[in-house]
Symmetry: C2
Subunit: 136 residues, 2 copies
């Protein structure tokens, strides 16, 4: 069984070790944004021998290959998610830590305009909203 991440690795010529396959599998099946410790915990269920150093190395490798995205949300450790086709930003629940993804083309466009007005070509950005759930 080959998942999307494995396919991307192959395409990029990354050597597919058992450990990398397992990290790929776990990330492919994750719906959330796990940190390295959590990833290691999940992968350990499939291979109790895998080292957390390998998870760190793998996740960094995947990130450099554009296969996963790393997020440093305020006050938390680095979290990872599989890269998707369309770009999205994040809203973080300040009470529960729950993360909601969203897309807003108007904001995207305005960011580009702001950068250009300041004499810059927009290369990357970071937009995070922090909020608390409205109870109704």
């Amino acid at each position: 069984m080959t998942n999307a991440i494995e396919k991307k690795c192959a395409k990029r010529g990354l050597r597919l070790t058992d450990q990398r396959k397992l990290v790929a599998k776990v990330m492919s099946e994750s719906e959330d944004h796990p940190d390295v410790y959590e990833l290691h915990k999940r992968v350990s269920k499939l291979d109790s021998k895998i080292s957390i150093a390998t998870v760190y190395r793998t996740v960094k490798l995947f990130e450099e290959a554009g296969i996963v995205a790393k997020h440093d949300f305020k006050g938390t450790k680095a979290r990872y998610e599989q890269t998707t086709d369309e770009h999205h930003d994040h809203l973080i629940d300040i009470n529960t830590g729950e993360i909601t993804e969203f897309v807003n083309e108007d904001i995207e466009k305005l960011q580009k305009e702001v950068a250009e007005k300041l004499g810059y070509k927009l290369v990357d950005h970071r937009l995070e909203l922090y909020g608390s759930k409205i109870k109704k």
Copy 2:
């Protein structure tokens, strides 16, 4: 000579030690976004005995009192700046590290709308643009 930071400390009942006065002075006079190491270097010129631990503690204290803002830009250590009256966001030059501040009310408004549409009250946000200078 009393600067804005010292005034805020007084208003909040923070004890004004010599070291805190010096950090306040240096931050008040800084036009950039120094990290703790840089702050310690600048303060050391005024008091060669000050410990970097004290700078860490002071900067954290000021942050918790809303007197300075902490920024964790991508790939850099924590940087600090004096809090200003109007909110602003940052554009970071990916080549030089130079930081430009900007305000965009349209984006602010859209962020709030996005949060509300998702059922959240917007409490805080983080918007950073990363770009490279357009040479003309």
